[in-house]
Amino acid sequence: MKSLAELDKLREKLRQEMNVREKDHDVTVTVSMGTCGIAAGAREIVKALLEEMKEQGLSRVALTQTSCAGLCQHEPLVEVNRGNEKITYINVDRDKAREIVKKHLVAGQVIKEWTTPERS
């Protein structure tokens, strides 16, 4: 170790992994993993989200699962929570999952056309 700056650089890199254990996540991404979700391929969505998060070097994002959200016909569902904002994406596939990470989590843009249909 040659300098404090070198240590800090290493620390930033290592933090990405360790952040799972902190409780102050900025964003929580939740995939519905009820029987309906799993049948619709939610497992693959979890994997795709994680892969893309790794590639993008995201930290402070918690990736969790939950049970059936009651929108079985729209599974797989991915919910993104940031502060009070809650966005639910429906009929997610692997490609969409990767886009959600890139656009929503990294760039902060909600992909409106994939979200829950407006209730009228």
Partner: protein, 597 residues
């Protein structure tokens, strides 16, 4: 390191290892693989999480769900329900005493919620064998900051200003110790870590060494920089093999990263650490005996002065700090002395780690701000006394300390308040006793310990504690004489004044403090030949309550002395002359008909 979506932390402190956490861990790994979760979920072994009686314990992140008392069979459900589907397995959650519901999040449990973790900041959170995890949680930044942004004098000043005092027992200001050693003439100088934790029931230092060894290494290097030492020794007991292993791994990793060795952080400061394994003598926790032992001599104390700051290891200026004291150093440097001084009481700053043991629901390891009351520690965090029994006293400070009765439960804990009550902070062992514990017997236990551990160098400790023990033995055997209490007090005063080292000088404390608060129990033993707590076997008489006895004859069958007679289906009686007071009949009776007076 790789990124995973979930971390499963398995406590691998010595307590959980003894409750077979390793088989739970391998079962978890097996099911994780079976379910194809290997690249998504990481299983991490950590040091002690604290709630030792609930072991094996596991925490699942990012949700922070706390599972307890796991068996290998439970792993399948945790993996297939929680890790795969995100569904918490309710039946494996903890239900605190007095709660009607299970609690999922560890931070919702009083046991964790009411703690402030500084010394234990990483213990139970990181893998102690990974320097990377330590670095990710600000590890070695304090050393980097000290070396690149502070002069040695500024480091000493910071420790002084923080108000940190020695956590080994006596509470000497750590900054002053460093200053005396820095200023003392002589070269080379040494940093010694006292990890010879020996108080019965105390395991704070072991848990830090097992759970966060790098924090101790980093602090020793900071101390080395501050006082001008390039070499450190950790004196750790051979009875702590896991701590020794993890220290060795940690030292190896720190050297690999250039955090120990020459030119640390590109400066011309170099520091390295060696482990010295003690052979298990209690007296070697006393600093002069410890130094002698490191030098390869017999572990015996010597008179002070000179203090180790002037003439320590091989006659050179030496800082000796306890494990917990050292674990506090990096946060003090990183967050500044004022932050640390803002926690605690006027004269006792920061936090203190306590090992809760004995008759308390949540035995284990807790860290609280100085000034927290005993009631909060024992009842809020510790969960109170099991089986509806009544709290009687709490013993602090091990064989050098004393007991505190119920009347003083609202005392805020700090060095001064405990001394005022006739006990000491000590290293942090807290043994809780309930109404069924005899205080004379408790004092006898500690004196037996000291007697056995007395090194024998000075007469007051070697002979004096022996005589005291003999008196206590005869009191608990029902042969106490008038004047025994006064004799105990006289001997105590003599030993306190004349013993060579801290071990002897404090040896009478358990007797003096139980005499102070429970004198009537001593008197009952001596005068009435009765043990009010019903603990001293020799003073009990066994009777059969004729109203409850059904005449089943089981007691007479199990009595080894053939002291119980009676006709079938009629109340039996115990021949008190033949009774050897073994208690077997009382244990076996299904009708609670056997009573002791």
């Amino acid at each position: 390191m790789e990124m995973y979506r979930s971390h499963v932390l398995v406590c691998a402190g010595a307590g959980c290892i003894s409750s077979a956490c390793k088989s739970v861990q391998s079962a978890l790994l097996e099911h994780i693989e079976e379910n194809g979760l290997t690249g998504e979920v990481k299983v991490v072994e950590t040091g002690c999480m604290g709630p030792c009686d609930l072991g094996p314990v596991v925490m699942v992140f990012p949700d922070g769900v706390f599972y307890r008392r796991l068996k290998p069979e439970d792993a399948a459900e945790i993996v297939s329900e929680h890790l795969l589907k995100g569904k918490v397995v309710t039946r494996l959650l903890h239900r605190p005493a007095g709660n009607d519901k299970q609690v999922a999040g560890f931070d919702q449990l009083d046991f964790f919620k009411k703690q402030t973790r500084i010394a234990l900041r990483n213990t139970g959170v990181i893998n102690p064998e990974s320097v990377e995890e330590y670095i990710a949680r600000d590890g070695y930044r304090a050393l980097g900051k000290a070396l690149s942004q502070m002069t040695p004098a500024e480091v000493v000043e910071a420790i002084k200003e923080s108000g940190l005092r020695g956590r080994g027992g006596a509470g000497f200001p750590t900054g002053l110790k460093w200053e005396f050693t820095a200023r003392a003439p002589g070269h080379p100088k040494y940093v010694v870590c006292n990890a010879d934790e020996g108080d019965p029931g105390a395991f704070m230092d072991r848990s830090i060494l097992e759970g966060d060894p790098h924090s101790v290494l980093e602090a020793m290097a900071i101390c080395g920089y501050a006082i001008g030492a390039n070499r450190g020794y950790i004196y750790v007991r051979a009875e702590y093999p896991l701590a020794v292993d993890r220290l060795e791994i940690a030292i190896g990793k720190a050297r690999e990263y250039g955090l120990l060795g020459d030119n640390i952080f590109g400066t011309d400061f170099g520091f390295d650490i060696e482990i010295r394994v003690g052979a298990g003598a209690f007296v070697c926790g006393e600093e002069t005996a410890l130094l002698a032992s490191i030098e390869g001599k017999r572990g015996e104390p010597r008179p002070k002065p000179p203090f180790p700051a002037q003439a320590g290891l091989w006659g050179k200026p030496t800082v000796i700090n306890n494990v917990e004291t050292l674990a506090n150093i990096p946060p003090v440097i990183l967050n500044g002395p004022r932050w640390f001084a803002g926690i605690g009481t006027e004269k006792s700053k920061g936090t203190k780690v306590f090992a809760l043991a004995g008759k308390v629901n949540n035995t284990g390891l807790v860290e609280v701000p100085m000034g927290t009351t005993l009631r909060e520690i024992i009842f809020d965090i510790g969960g109170g006394i099991p089986a509806g029994k009544k709290f009687k006293a709490v013993q602090t400070g091990g064989p050098s300390g004393g007991c505190i009765p119920e009347d003083y439960l609202d005392t805020p804990v700090d060095y001064e308040s405990l001394t005022k009550l006739g006990t000491i902070m000590g290293s942090g062992g807290m043994i809780i006793v309930d109404e069924e514990t005899c205080m004379v017997d408790l004092a006898k236990f500690f004196l037996e310990f000291v007697q056995e551990e007395s090194c024998g160098k000075c007469a007051p400790c070697r002979i004096g504690t022996k005589r005291m023990l003999e008196i206590l033995e005869r009191i608990t055997a029902g042969n106490g004489r008038n004047g025994d209490i006064e004799l105990l007090e006289e001997l105590s005063a003599g030993i306190k004044n004349s013993a060579l080292c801290g071990l002897g000088q404090t040896a009478p404390n358990p007797v003096l403090s139980t005499l102070r608060y429970f004198r009537d129990e001593y008197e009952a033993h001596i005068r009435d030949k009765k043990c009010p707590a019903g603990a001293c076997q020799a003073l009990l008489t066994y009777y059969i309550n004729a109203k409850s006895c059904q005449g089943c004859g089981l007691c007479s069958k199990v009595c080894p002395a053939e002291a119980i007679i009676g006709e079938k289906k009629k109340p039996h009686v115990i021949d008190t002359d033949k009774c050897i007071k073994c208690g077997t009949c009382k244990q076996k009776c299904k009708f609670d008909a056997i009573i002791t007076v």
